[in-house]
Amino acid sequence: MNRFANPARFMRLSDRLIPWCAALTVVSLAIGLWGALFVAPPDYQQGEAVRIMFVHVPAAWMASLIYFLMALASGVALIWRHPLADIAAQAAAPLGAGFTLVCLVTGSLWGQPMWGTWWVWDARLTSVLVLFFLYLGYIALVNAFDDATRGSRAGAVLALVGIVNLPIIKFSVDWWNTLHQPASVFRMGGPTIDSSMLWPLLVMAVAFMFYFSTVLMLRMRSAILSARLRAVRLGAAEALDAAALGSPS
């Protein structure tokens, strides 16, 4: 694991992986959208509005998954001080916030025709909104310090504390009386939705995962290059200072 977490090795590996992940994103997205818009039948109760689910549900899964990965990377960064772990967590945060926003907005667009309201303060919706604010809080906290190391450490602690929200999101529909329907895919006893709707949903989730991997690697590469540039410039500035101090005035 440590072997692959070396920044130089990551740069070489990601250089080869990004084109593959990008291509797989395009292919799986095309298949997923074809299944979602043309193959899946309209729901017997929701009609064509059910097609919103093919974006909403995978976005919701990604919102939680990315937070979990971000918290995991933060834990690794805090315990082992691994340089790539902080970079990964910080590169993932805006993507997680984006998926959470997509989940909230598409959910709202589904809720208006189905529930008769854009928003309701029920446990599932509120806990996902809290997740969105956790992402924003993490991003703000990491950038709030002049010293980048202190910012990263404070952000990592917040990411770890915020992980308590994930089981609340998952089980909110079982623990409380909510307007939001209970799980229909990842549940004891298997999925309750028909395979004609299940496969486009899963392919869309795969597409979102490839998309996330591609953009995450791009953002991590940017962060590594930016850190290298800073180090080179700092080295050059220090060399200049040393030369100025050493030269006779």
């Binding site: 064509e48 509005a49 974006v55 667009l109 589904w110 953009v215 290059l225």
Partner: protein, 59 residues
């Protein structure tokens, strides 16, 4: 043919909810990808300019 397209776009009367949902997702996910790609391009150009000004030590 035209009727089929109109029927598809109407989304059984839910067009004003379904299409904005897909549009918003495209906007956010597409926007984040373009942002990341441009940011990477900028960093890479800066790094290459810096690397060109001193002895090369790999990417």
């Amino acid at each position: 043919m035209m009727d089929e397209v109109t029927h598809f776009l109407a989304m059984g009367g839910y067009a004003r909810f379904v299409w904005p949902a897909y549009g918003f997702a495209t906007l956010v996910l597409g926007g984040m990808a373009v942002w990341a790609w441009r940011q990477y391009g900028r960093q890479r150009r800066q790094w290459e300019a810096q690397a060109g000004a001193r002895p090369r030590r790999g990417r």
